[in-house]
Amino acid sequence: MELFLSLVDDAFFSAIPAIGFALIFNVPKRMLVLCACGGAIAHSLRTLVMHSGVSIEWASLVASVTIGLIGVYWSRRYLVPRPVFTVASVIPMIPGTFAFKTIIGVFTLHDGGYSAEVMASVLENGLATLFILMALSFGLALPSILIYRFRPIV
């Protein structure tokens, strides 16, 4: 039950950034709901998968592959290109804090001089940022390179 509540919270608060970024990308109005759904599904799925003990990168990959597949379905149904929904949907999973900590770490290394701890923090956060980003973007591309190799989706 507690897990369920936290998943609902997760879903709600990741639907909002999905819509927010969809507005920045000027996604057509009638697709906004799909972006919100996509964002909610992706992030809460990732939380669920992580809850079962999978690490954040692999969980991100699972979530983004799922969104990629849902995107194929929506894309064929509404006859619009896939990135219209998928990119906004994965935005809530972008590793913002990791990236921020990496940058702050680099500044600290430069200003305050080298220290092993700061270096460790930069490396750990930097690698996490990189791996999660790769999982997200590669996951989105997977359906089209696996299934739709020879013909366009729409």
């Binding site: 057509p28 006859l79 702050i104 989105l140 591309a141 013909r151």
Partner: protein
Amino acid sequence: MSTPSPRIISNEQQTDIVRLVVQTGMRLQQHGAESKLVEQTSSRLGLALGLDSVEIALTANAIIVTGLYQGRCITTTRRVFDRGINMHVVCEVQRIVLLAEKQLLDCDLVKDRLERISAFKYNRWLVVFMVGLSCASFSHLFGGDWTVFAMTFIASAFAMIVRQELAHRHHNPIFNFGVTAFVATLISSLAVRFNLGNQPELVMAASVLLLVPGFPLINAVSDFVKGHVNTGMARWGMATLLCLGAASGIALAMALTGVRGWV
């Protein structure tokens, strides 16, 4: 793909079709479509309008199209300027191409429709509000309480106003990202200074997330994976530069206020 009925195309018509193909590709690339989509969609238009084959070379900021018809080939190139991501335009262009493929639009109609596509934009205050709420939601997802939520909303909404204002005046995007990050960090450093909320550093981290270059990054990887290495590297480079711009803005604000987030 549908096989278009064979028809005779004059030299002028061929020129017109090639021009439509190059314009389609240009519009798609200008508004943030990935390279494979650009290539596929515009070559489909050319075939639908009766060319024998369409060959497209994409670089990071230009498109070169050759249209072949019965051994005659016409080549043209266009410079592509980045006009900001606009999925509305991408959808509209795609729809026109689909209609042309079903032979519902001829050359003149396609031209007409393409010219009539305007870059639809959402009301700016709606965007400001939703983007503020988005960053606030990020801070909630990262574990912030409601004070952090409110502070993040304020900082990122102001930052978004700055970003829109600068984009409206056609300022350079890297510069724009730097200034926006500077404003966001400046406002959110207040939270750290007055120790508001359970984790005031979260405000600083979450309020700059409106600058995540999501489209360039994801398009970059998509291009890479699908073999468009050159445009992929260009997009990746642009995403990196935008991040660097934002990082410089954060650095400047931190140097001025002396407030630092973590570590």
